[in-house]
């Protein structure tokens, strides 16, 4: 299996990123963001590309990619919902919100809708416990969620 190939423009960005860090290993995280953006997910070929351009082992890159919940090793939907399930959110009804999302989208947690519109994931604490329950859709943050509010929010994403 040959590694994926980064666009020349991305390679320039990667050079800039690597120059900011004392070690190449430290640049794994930002490079994985770029890889996910460019290749859609960080599958084996994308990991190999990242490992090669960084000059760090595939094992290291794989470890980082599977550790953080924002990286996907398989293709995912156009929009990703990260629903927090940590303590404060759970106490304030995150579980029933999850039921609502699963029913509405007709998928289970971790899955992608058949039309590829949404992927539903749990997130670790998003750092906004005072406004719980909370979720992220892509990079947009939503707080004080209810079933009705969720319906409204999802309508905004195609």
């Amino acid at each position: 299996m040959a590694p994926a190939v980064f666009a020349a423009e991305t390679l320039n960005k990667i050079e800039e990123i690597m120059a900011r860090y004392p070690t190449r290993r430290a640049a794994i995280l930002p490079v994985l963001y770029l890889a996910q953006e460019e290749f859609g997910c960080v599958d084996d070929r994308a990991l190999m590309a990242a490992s090669k351009v960084l000059g760090v082992s595939k094992a290291d890159v794989y470890g980082v990619a599977t550790y953080y919940s924002m990286f996907e090793t398989k293709p995912f939907g156009r929009n990703v919902i990260h629903l927090c399930d940590n303590l404060a959110c759970s106490l304030l009804g995150a579980e029933s919100l999850q039921d609502h999302l699963e029913r509405k989208l007709e998928i289970q947690m971790g899955q992608t809708t058949t039309d590829g519109r949404f992927t539903l994931k749990n997130a670790e604490c998003l750092g906004a416990c005072a406004q719980a329950p909370v979720m992220l859709v892509n990079d947009d943050f939503y707080e004080g969620l209810t079933d009705a509010k969720i319906d409204e929010i999802l309508a905004k994403y195609e």
Partner: protein
């Protein structure tokens, strides 16, 4: 504080002194104070992950991990208390709540740290009620099982793979409870050293060849020395009922410091292979048929005597073995010299160590030889024409250890190798220019008139390097730091034309700069066989034939005065009909010598061939007598490793069938021929040999002003001459997974890599329209092979790389046998070929 300073530490109310610079757990280990641990290991960086080594340090309110806490002067430490025990038991409780507890069918049961620590503490509570781990067991690696559910997350395997092996194949993936220590899906980075199996405290990383072949307490362990390469690693053979079940390193002992390579750990399968020769065979009516030893030896004696009588002693040739023990080689040369009566004695060391030895003999006085430990401590390594990571993997690890300590490594090699990938700088010289490169260094550093031409004329066209690059390289051997420079020299130099002269030049540089050197040695006992006297012009201890009198006195037998023929000179003589009989002890020229066609033709002209081996090799098939010999595990003896260290070992299991140790066969044959050797056992042979050749004797001969080497003129053609009919240049390499015929019969190595692969640049793959995995026919002037391709953009365009040693596609078939004027060995590093898709 220097390393010799002592500090005062109190452990459990007792005062001690320990060296400064240790962690608390290191100090405790040295004092014999037991602190439990899963993740800590002396040879690995501390992690502080398992929380089993918790201790109390006076003045610090919370428990501390002993592995990450430095021992300080005046420190007061408690290693056992109720609080500490409760904390450790809580850790075990968490481990046991997740562990599958499938000890009944775990290979590690009774040798498991989790079992032992649970047993030690005894009353562990079980308050957690969450489901046991349901992680899969991964069999993607052909040799190592990854039983993820049993893992205790100590990360020893990750650290050993990264910090010692340098393969970086294992990572901690996912997080929290489902964390997996595994290779990334698809793998491919693992070099099958198996170190992760040794360091695993539980049954998470397991040897698949050993799977369910016995409980640890049913194994008997016997120490031995690895029979593959010249490193001479210490092994522990685990046996059951006379058969090898698995191989381990023996603690931290030996030159290998507890590491092994794929060959050492997984290459033992040939020993109990069903095809091992169990009884002698002699040719009757064109067929090799089994006979008893008496008949076979009598047959050999009668035929040899007849040939000597009718055609003279000179009509017999002998190949000792770069694999056999020092003792067997010593007796072999004595047999050829005293019983047969000539000096026609050589071995496959001729293609490796012998050339280096001849170079060394050309330098008078002391030249510092590096040990593996010197390599580990080196500040600079200059690697010329060598790929230690594949030929001598433990030397490769020593190099990686040096790199981790900050050493600069420069590799001068036309090939892309596992070694060049580790280099701080890879100088991709033109194929065949190792020798002119060394001569150019000599021109710069030795200021000798005859070398000056090499430092000034057009280096770029001849070597492929700029004058500045050569100057930089020379800089590694200049100044104060030169003493910490180790030069590693491999077959890229010793198999090149005038390789021995180049070694001599290089060693004069090394000596003048007080640097040190080490020759990589492909076969386990190349050095020992030479030092035992398996050379046509040197007696045991490398004594010249002129010193034969003192040998004759001890042997009570005459030693011929005339130097004999070297390996290829014997083959040439055979082809000319001058060699009537050939005694081949443990060598396999048909497969292992360059230019297979020539070798076969030469051997088929010999009237009477004796082959002594473990298997019916392609050479044995051509023999008139085949004598089954005992493997390394089945006999006692000693090997001399690449550093010159002599290591003895004893038999661990009985020989297969009626196989006998080489030394015993030689003694019995000498008696049948009426010039019997007196030895009753191997110790008597060793005693005689060591009496004649004290360990320092070889060193004395090395430093005596012996050979003089001609420095070749600049007009010599170094690289290949372009030939449009054969547009590609095939460069031979080495493989971790092969080393001689035995390696092709070791199931573990076949699993590591089943078949040969031709590595080539994508552009060259495109030019013959092949992609990864397709097969090509490669043709040279002497032969043809079929092999599948592996596309690799780091290979130089126009060159093909093929490892020696794979039985299915052997580059030696393609090589020629033009002999070097100095060593009389074939120059066999590259060959011009053409290639087409099948």
């Amino acid at each position: 504080m220097s390393g010799n300073d002592l500090i005062n530490v109190t452990f459990n109310d007792k005062a001690y002194q320990v060296p400064a610079g240790l962690s608390v757990i290191q100090a405790a280990d040295r004092l014999g104070i037991c602190i439990p641990r899963f993740c800590y290991m002396e040879k690995l960086s501390p992690l502080g992950g398992c929380r089993m080594c918790l201790i109390t340090v006076q003045g610090i309110p919370k428990l501390q991990t002993a592995c990450t806490t430095p021992a300080r002067d005046g420190m007061v430490v408690i290693t056992e208390s109720e609080e500490i025990n409760e904390a450790r038991k809580a850790m075990l409780e968490l481990q046991l709540a997740q562990h599958p507890l499938d000890c009944f069918h775990c290979d590690k049961a009774t040798r498991c740290d989790l079992q032992d620590l649970t047993y030690l503490f005894g009353d562990i509570q079980h308050r957690y009620d969450f489901p046991r781990k349901e992680l899969e067991t991964i069999y993607e690696n052909p040799l190592i099982e990854r039983n993820l559910a049993r893992c205790v997350h100590c990360e020893r395997c990750i650290r050993v793979c990264e910090e010692i092996q340098g393969a970086d194949a294992i990572s901690a993936s996912r997080r929290g409870r489902p964390t997996e220590m595994r290779e990334i899906p698809g793998g491919g980075e693992c070099q099958h050293c198996g170190h992760c199996i040794d360091v695993c405290p539980v049954g998470a990383n397991l040897d698949r060849l050993f799977s369910h072949r016995g409980r640890p307490f049913q194994m008997e362990a016997g120490g031995s020395i690895c029979p593959y390469c010249g490193c001479g690693c210490t092994l522990s053979l685990n046996t059951r009922e006379g058969r090898i079940m698995r191989v381990w390193p023996r603690g931290h002992e030996g030159v290998n410091h507890g590491s092994l390579c794929a060959r050492g750990r997984f290459g033992w399968g040939f020993v109990n292979h069903p095809e091992r020769l169990a009884r002698p065979r002699i040719k009757k009516n064109g067929q090799l048929v089994e006979v008893d030893w008496d008949e076979a030896l009598l047959f050999v004696a009668t035929r040899l005597e007849k040939i000597i009588r009718e055609h003279g002693a000179q009509s017999v040739g002998g190949l000792g073995s770069a694999r056999a023990t020092d003792e067997a080689n010593y007796l072999f040369q004595r047999f050829m010299r005293c019983v047969v009566g000539n000096n026609n004695i050589d071995s496959s060391a001729r293609f490796g160590y012998t050339a280096g030895l001849m170079g060394r003999l050309g330098v008078a006085g002391e030249v510092r030889e590096a040990t593996l430990d010197d390599v580990r401590r080196a500040a600079r390594l200059l690697v010329i024409g060598a790929d230690p990571v594949e030929t001598n993997p433990i030397l490769g690890l020593a190099m990686k250890a040096a790199i981790r300590r900050g050493a600069t490594v420069v590799v001068a090699d036309p090939r892309t190798t596992l070694t060049s990938r580790w280099a701080s700088q890879h100088l991709r010289i033109r194929p065949g220019s190792e020798v002119p490169l060394i001569l150019a260094l000599g021109g710069r550093l030795l200021k000798e008139k005859e070398l000056s031409a090499f430092s000034t004329d057009n280096l770029v066209t001849r070597i492929g390097l700029t004058t500045d690059a050569v100057a930089d390289l020379a800089g590694m051997l200049e100044g104060e730091g030169a003493q910490q420079t180790v030069v590693l020299v491999g077959r890229g130099v010793t198999q090149a034309p005038y390789g021995a002269s180049a070694v001599a030049t290089l060693l004069r540089i090394v000596a003048s700069r007080r640097a040190s050197y080490l020759l990589t040695v492909d076969r386990n006992n190349e050095r020992g066989s030479c030092e035992a006297g398996v050379l046509p012009d040197r007696l045991p201890g490398l004594a010249p034939l002129s010193e034969r009198e003192r040998f004759e006195k001890v042997w009570g037998q005459k030693v011929p005065e005339q130097p004999g023929l070297s390996a290829y000179e014997m083959l040439q003589a055979a082809r000319e009909g001058k060699l009537r009989a050939f005694y081949i002890m443990g060598e396999n020229p048909v497969e292992d010598f360059p230019d297979t066609g020539f070798v076969e033709q030469a051997l088929s002209s010999v009237e009477f061939i004796i082959v002594q081996d473990l298997f019916m090799t392609p050479t044995a098939v051509m023999a008139d007598v085949v004598l089954p010999s005992a493997s390394f595990a089945e006999k006692a003896g000693q090997f001399t490793n690449l550093e010159g260290q002599v290591q003895s070992y004893t038999a661990v299991i009985p020989p297969v069938g009626e196989a006998r140790p080489d030394a015993r066969i030689l003694v019995e044959l000498s008696r049948k021929m009426g010039k019997g050797f007196p030895h009753k056992n191997i110790l008597e042979v060793r005693e005689e040999m060591n009496g004649l050749v004290p360990l320092q004797e070889s060193k004395r001969q090395l430093s005596a002003n012996g050979l003089s080497h001609t420095v070749p003129g600049p007009e010599v053609q170094w690289g290949p001459i372009e030939d449009s009919d054969f547009p590609y240049l095939l460069l031979t390499t080495a493989s971790l997974y092969r080393n001689g015929a035995e390696s092709n019969l070791a199931v573990g190595l076949l699993k590591g890599q089943e078949k040969a692969a031709l590595r080539l640049h994508p552009a060259d793959a495109e030019s013959v329209s092949v992609s990864e995995g397709d097969s090509v026919i490669v043709t040279s002037k002497t032969g043809e092979i079929q092999v599948s391709v592996r596309v690799d953009d780091e290979i130089a365009p126009g060159t093909l790389q093929l490892a020696e040693g794979f039985a299915d596609a052997n580059p030696r078939t393609l090589l020629g046998h033009a002999l070097d004027p100095v060593t009389r060995a074939p120059m066999a590093r590259y060959v011009q070929v053409k290639m087409r898709k099948i």
